[in-house]
Amino acid sequence: MTKFLQTLMDGVAVGSLYALIALGYTMVYGILQFINFAHSDVFVLGAWISYTLAVGLGYAAADAEPSVLAAVGILLAAMAACGAAGFTIERLAYRPLRRAPRLNVLITAIGVSLLLQNVGQLKWFFGTQPQRMPSVLADRVLGSVAGVQVHLVDLIGAGTALALMLVLDRLIFHTRLGRAMRAVSHDTTVAALMGINVDAVISFTFVLGSSLAAAAGFLYAMKYPGLNQPAHATWVLLGLKAFVAAVIGGIGNVRGAMLGGILIGFIELFGAAYLSPHLRDIYVFSILILVLLVRPSGILGRAVAEKV
């Protein structure tokens, strides 16, 4: 029972991070129909900016006083920085290719991903050494439920992720801007004819997705302080799993991405806890192939008939 509850909690914590990253993938796919391979690198950028800020604020010292205010400040700063990065990437790399074949855009995304990874590795940025994220929040044990310890960091992580998702959901389904986003995603040409500024909406989508990825990066660094160097394979794999989450939920569907993220978190951690911890990547990708074969449009996605 203890093991089950522990796994359940870890599943929610990890799954909500996957969901945050998956949202960026799914929003971009919904509008531009391409896999933004550089998205996972924006997430890594978020984690490393959080690290740099935390060290800059003096949290690397042993006697540093943990503070909630600083944590919120770092989170917002990282989100702003990555939002700016997302805007720049879209403006410089993707916009010139708006009418190009999708494969070209995909290759460009791989190029941007390589660029971010390798520039991040330069010694003027984050270097090639793994670093340890200093603890900005006090990791207190709040209490224990049925023998499972509830950590403050886990609670704040999952809480922040869920809150951000609620805000996003509200934004997309209950505001003018959100309606514009949905319209562009439905049909770009018609949306433009209705007077929607398509370029602005796409830019906004990238800013939104990138800042959510940055938030995920910050929360990830809080939960797993050992940060790998920016080009490490673990990061790419993490991004891929988040993308798998988006596909399973139904790509292009915002609520599907949230559902898929949590689902992937559960599958991965329950598989690791009850079957074999070494095969966790296999569970995720097997589920992906299974879902694609049985229901190619994902759990919440709608199948779109192709017109001739």
């Binding site: 129909q33 391409f34 896999i35 790399a93 010139p96 290719l97 190009a100 074949p101 999708r102 494969l103 070209n104 855009v105 995909l106 290759i107 460009t108 791989i110 190029g111 941007v112 390589l114 660029l115 990874q117 390798n118 520039v119 590795q121 330069l122 010694k123 394979a233 790419v236 794999l237 891929l240 993308f243 798998v244 596909v247 070494h278 095969l279 990547d281 296999i282 990708f285 097997s286 992906l288 192939i289 694609l292 074969l293 190619p296 192709e306 001739v308």
Partner: protein
Amino acid sequence: MIKGLAPLAAGLALAVAMQLSAGPIIGPFAVKLLMDIGINVILAVSLNIVNGFTGQFSIGHAGFMAVGGYVAGCFTYYGSYLIWGAPRVQAGWLSGGDLLFVGGCLAGAAVAGAAGFVVGLPSLRLRGDYLAIVTLGFGEILRVMLQRTGDVVTSAEEVRAASWPTLATSLGGSLGFSGLPYYTDLFWVYVFVAVTLLVALRLKFSSLGRAFLSIRENEIAAEAVGVNTTRLKVRAFVLAAAFAGIAGGLFAHEVGTSLNPRELGFQKSFDIVIMVVLGGMGSVSGAVLAAIVLTLLPEALRGFSEFRMPIYALALILMMILRPQGILGLREVWELPWLRRRRS
């Protein structure tokens, strides 16, 4: 245009000439580079059959390469133990060792082709990006499974005592399959390059190749005029995977390479995709050109190694924006307009 066995004979003659003259004249480093180029040419040209001709999007090509490499490695390594008692290179060109190695490569190609069939089957239902993700997932599952294999058996007695399934799963795990004999030389690399090029070129200008291209241009229209799209897509997959398997076998037995699961992960797959797109989707000579350029480029940039990868990435992005159809587009080198004009 490319008919008969003459091109194959020419390729063979070239391979023999390279083998006999190259080593002493240009030195081991250049030989190694030439072998790398040859292997990359096989990979790029074979992926071009799926991505360029048929217009499907596979980003798991390194997975097929890994299948071929591991099967071939298993074949020569444990085969050498059973026959000669040690995985040493049996001296002499075209000797028993060489034959074992080529047999291994062909076995690797067969198993990789079978894997291609299994992965190609989902393409019955999936299009575009989804297929890409499935191929990617296949590569990742394969990587994890290879990482879970046992240690390499390192004595003749144990190899003789072990059962076939044990040997087939003793592939070195995440450390990689070490101790493989170095059989790959210029001759075998370029023999297989010649075969690959011949098959790809003959295919492109055949009716089967035209059918592949019709799927790429418009799948629904192709189906409407009677092209069996699903069967052809799977066929393209199997063909490409088999050649990737050969490239994997060559890679496994090359000097200075390490056959480990991480080496042949999605990064390698991306590298091959980049070669195809840079050369021009559907252009065989373009894929060759891009494979040569992209193998040499990192070496040329070695002087400022720190900026090597950023420059490479930047060049890729600029290339996509400024010349989205790749160097050659669908054309071959000899079909370029300025070459044509001169000829007539």
